[in-house]
């Protein structure tokens, strides 16, 4: 079956941040430079070609962009300055919107305005919710001089709300993941994956989820990989703490500084601050390849994350120093920053790659193995 070329795809992709990719004339240098290219996985070139040609269907079933960690080698060495790394980045944004059946993702990515409006609405909703449902603002301090935050915002209630948000977002993320499975695996008629591969190949995907070992294969310094990993682990830990252990994490009494609650909090927050400042400076200076091109979603993401971390620190400082009103207002602000970030990014934007990357590794490995098996059986027949 022939695939109809869709000349509109290109215009669509431009909105996701792409630039002139017709500069690429397929010399193959990017594929040659890339450390992650394998026999069956010829990125970035293959995906770039599909994008160039307007092959909407082929692109939707191509998981390759998720296997790229944007080290920037290809863009650095591209003889035509076609910026393949950034094209892969754009395609990740595009694919996120392709997997998202609600269309919300596409809206956020394609329009900075929409994204900001959505966030503003959420921000104001959180503030309004506190105005309406917020507990009394007690000025009385605890015995050890801390602010009684749990009276203003009881951890159980906040955790309850967190759970609701989590469930909702999980629903969307999960359905998007199923959609990805449908597009990448089921629609690809060239491979029929044997059932046992689903079990044998899951290990590597999980390992990569935890360690991002693939990223370490990229040609950049270890520091880079570590920074990314640290940020990811920090975020996941914080996510788990806030969702499942908020009562333990959000206490009124002040623990000693070496208490695990405070230590973990410090380490993660420091990481967040360091990471977000590092990214912001990078994006401003545009020296490194990966920082050269910033989409609005990139900016919103780092700024919000910075604000969340920064406001979290402020809450902590105000609370242990017994400044009740400052603590309450900052807390409201903290949640008003966090909720929009979680809602827009987890299932519909940048953070969803946390799920898509390991899935892509999983699907790609299964496909690769299946193809090898097919090739073997073909050879055994002919001999």
């Amino acid at each position: 079956m022939s695939q109809r070329i869709n000349p509109e795809l290109k215009k669509e992709l431009l909105k996701f941040g792409a630039k002139d990719w017709n500069d690429c004339y397929h010399c193959g240098n990017c594929t040659a430079t890339c450390q992650l290219t394998e026999r069956e996985i010829l990125f970035p070139r293959k995906a770039i070609r599909q994008a160039q040609m307007g092959l909407t269907e082929s692109l939707a079933s191509n998981a390759d962009p998720w296997l790229c960690y944007y080290c920037g080698d290809c863009s650095d060495t591209c003889p035509r300055d076609a910026n393949p790394g950034e094209i892969m980045m754009t395609l990740r944004r595009y694919l996120t919107s392709v997997y998202d059946w609600t269309g919300f993702s596409g809206m956020l990515y394609k329009s900075a305005k929409a994204h900001i409006v959505v966030m503003l609405v959420l921000f104001l909703s959180v503030v309004a919710a506190f105005l309406i449902f917020g507990g009394p603002m007690i000025t009385e301090l605890t015995s050890d001089g801390g602010v009684r935050l749990n009276t203003f915002a009881p951890a159980e209630i906040i955790a309850g709300i967190d759970h609701i948000v989590l469930l909702t977002l999980s629903f969307f993320l999960l359905t998007n993941m199923i959609n990805m499975y449908y597009k990448v695996v089921l629609k690809d008629k060239t491979v029929h994956i044997p059932w046992y591969l689903y079990f044998t190949e899951i290990g590597e995907a999980l390992l990569n989820f935890g360690t991002q070992l693939r990223f370490s294969k990229c040609n950049k310094s270890r520091m880079y990989w570590f920074g990314h990993w640290f940020l990811m682990i920090g975020y996941v830990t914080m996510f788990v703490l806030i969702i499942f252990f908020l009562s333990w994490f959000q206490t009124d009494n002040i623990n000693v500084w070496y208490h695990p609650q405070r230590l973990i909090g410090y380490i993660i927050t420091a990481g967040f601050l360091f990471g977000t400042i590092f990214f912001m400076i990078g994006r401003i200076r545009k020296k490194k390849q990966i920082f050269k091109h910033s989409h609005h979603s990139d900016w919103i993401f780092v700024v919000l994350l910075f604000l969340v971390a920064f406001s979290g620190i402020l809450i902590h400082i105000f609370r242990i120093n017994g400044l009740p009103f400052a603590t309450y207002y900052t807390y409201v602000a903290h949640l008003a920053f966090e909720i929009p970030m979680v809602v827009t990014f987890v299932a519909f934007s940048k953070w969803s790659h946390l799920a898509y990357r390991p899935l892509a590794i999983y699907f790609s490995n299964m496909k690769k193995k299946t193809r090898e098996l097919q090739l073997k059986s073909k050879l055994s027949v002919s001999y």
């Binding site: 290109k10 017709n22 040609m53 092959l55």
Partner: protein, 579 residues
């Protein structure tokens, strides 16, 4: 008769010959042949020391014949003939054995190659014994020049010669000067208007006092030889005019390939499939439109139509890729919202400004798709009005290996450049050879791409090979320089290899008269014998093998020379069975 003394020289050509032919053995085997006075081998016979060796030997050993076994006589026969002349010997007392191109480079068995080399040298020795002294003759050059073809190449050559103050006769078959270049809209890569470039040139040619233009005019016959050609032209008013000229520049140009040969493109059946030339005309008119007069939403350009394909023409037509990019640019500026698809086999953008044009075009939202010439060309089919788009082009895209279909409302076929159909007639009239693909053959593909094997006849422009305008003009001006050089010298030497009639034997049967393609033989009624005009004769030797009495001798290719060559070649010692 003086005693025959032959010097035989076997060249190693570095390792070129020595690697496959045992040159020592060749010398050992032939040095005892009768009449061989000296036999040597040397690293490079054509080098100065090599030639000096021959000259020294001629003087020392009083040699009167020389055989050199080396490369093809087409390369160095003249070199060695000059060496003989330098030594005071008639240059024709020389024979070459081709043991490089026809032995060392084509065989793999050293023993057999050596044996074959010996037989070729033996044949040359046998032949050279019968060689005769022949003397060069010089004739005067007529300073006028005939230019055939009034395209951009022909006009450039004509102007160059006319500006030097020499008479030019420019013959153009059609009613207008300018050729195909005048039909183009813009030129690549700088988008100059072709008309603005060509028009002043035409005016200049038409107004030039040294250029006499004949159009529309076809040339039917040219008599004569380098320096002294003549032709009679039939004028429109019934008069005849007789032209005399010393040189001919042929610029018959190109014709576009007819794409209806390629069935998958459905040219001629689908009205919106047009050739590049038709599209140029559309552009010149100022509006890109489909047959229904609508603006096309999707425009596809297909490269290599008839080029680089063994079924049509194997050669690359050189200009189509860049013209296609030029089209893409013109379409983009005329129809900013259109989708442009460029279907190519390889993007060939060599030369100044061309890669730049490609880069520039690739940034204009043109979708480049690569097809494979070998495994099925794209197929254009109609949607029969079932879709918004009128045609679909189906093929396997080579980078993605995806089977795709491209929507198109207008398809432009970048048709190949062919040598003009009239070139065949002109090749007979002017005596130029054609290669398999109907382009004229130049004298040497590397060293002399302007001249032909017929002295005084030059080829310029696309009749020699596909070319763009600047290349055609360069070649035209080069040819003009060559012509002016011969006019400046004023005389030329003519070949000595001609036929001659022995009047004591000729019986006057006149069989030879009609055999000669150059009308060089005539019957002398008074003497009752045939006579050869040795200036008209080009030495093909056909009359020699036609004459039933042996009265006609083909000089330097006499029966006796060739028969002894055969006998040498087949000397029993040189057979493989004797190995």
């Amino acid at each position: 008769m003086e005693e025959i003394k032959i010097g035989v020289y076997v060249c190693w050509c570095g390792t070129n010959i020595a690697k496959m032919v045992d040159v020592d053995q060749v010398v050992d085997q032939i040095k005892f042949l009768p009449d061989v006075a000296v036999a040597r081998n040397y690293k490079y016979m054509c080098s100065d020391p090599g030639q000096d060796m021959i000259i020294r030997d001629i003087k020392q050993h009083h040699l009167n014949r020389v055989v050199v076994a080396a490369c093809s006589p087409r390369i160095h026969e003249l070199t060695f003939r000059k060496a003989l002349a330098k030594a005071g010997l008639n240059p024709m007392m020389f024979q070459m054995a081709n043991i490089r191109e026809q032995v060392a480079w084509v065989h793999t068995d050293r023993e057999k190659a050596t044996k074959k080399a010996v037989s070729l040298v033996h044949a040359a020795i046998n032949r050279v014994k019968w060689h005769e002294s022949l003397d060069k003759r010089t004739i005067e050059v007529n300073p006028a020049t005939l230019v055939i073809g009034g395209g951009v190449a022909g006009m450039s050559a004509a102007l160059e010669i006319a500006n030097a103050g020499k008479q030019v006769y420019l013959v153009e078959k059609s009613k207008k000067l300018g050729g195909y270049a005048a039909q183009l809209d813009l030129t690549f890569p700088h988008f100059y208007s072709a008309r603005q470039l060509i028009k002043p040139m035409i005016r200049h040619v038409e107004d030039h006092k040294n250029i006499r233009i004949f159009k529309p005019m076809q040339i039917n016959q040219i008599f004569g030889y380098m320096g002294n050609f003549q032709s009679t032209l039939q004028l429109a008013n019934g008069d005849e005019t007789k032209l005399k000229f010393g040189n001919i520049i042929v610029a018959t140009g190109l014709q576009p390939f007819d794409p209806s040969e390629i069935t998958s493109y459905n040219y001629g059946k689908l009205p919106d499939v047009v050739t590049s030339l038709e599209f140029e005309k559309m552009l010149a008119k100022g509006r890109i439109e489909t047959c229904e007069g609508k603006e096309p939403k999707n425009v596809a350009i297909i490269h290599c139509v008839g080029s680089r394909n063994a079924n049509y023409h194997e050669y690359c037509s050189r200009t189509c890729c860049m013209t296609a990019l030029k089209f893409a640019n013109q379409i983009r500026s005329a129809l900013p919202e259109s989708n442009i698809f460029d279907l190519y086999a390889d993007m060939r953008s060599f030369g100044k400004g061309c890669e730049e044009l490609y880069t520039q075009t690739s940034r204009k939202n043109v979708i480049f798709l690569r097809f494979d010439q070998q495994n099925g060309l794209p197929e254009i089919r109609s949607t029969n009005g079932e879709e918004a788009v009128s045609m679909l082009i189906e093929f396997t895209e080579q980078f993605s290996k995806e089977q795709v279909e491209v929507p198109a409302d207008l398809v432009i076929l970048m048709v190949a450049m062919e040598s003009h159909a009239d070139a065949k007639d002109i090749s007979h009239i002017a005596g130029i050879s054609m290669c398999g693909n109907s382009f004229f053959i130049e004298k040497h593909p590397k060293l002399d791409p302007v001249a032909t094997t017929s002295d005084g006849v030059f080829i310029v422009g696309t009749c020699q090979a596909p070319k763009d305008i600047p290349d055609s003009i360069s070649q035209a001006k080069a040819a003009a320089a060559r012509v002016l050089a011969t006019i400046h010298v004023g005389t030329i030497e003519v070949d000595v290899i001609t036929a001659t009639v022995n009047e004591d034997i000729c019986c006057g049967c006149q069989t030879c008269v009609s055999v000669c393609p150059y009308k060089a033989i005539s019957f002398n009624k008074e003497k009752g014998v045939s006579e050869v005009n040795e200036i008209l004769c080009k030495g093909c030797g056909t009359c020699g093998s036609t004459c039933p009495t042996g009265a006609i001798r083909s000089r330097h290719f006499t029966d006796q020379q060739i028969l002894s060559q055969i006998q040498g070649l087949l000397s029993p010692d040189n057979k493989f069975e004797k190995m």
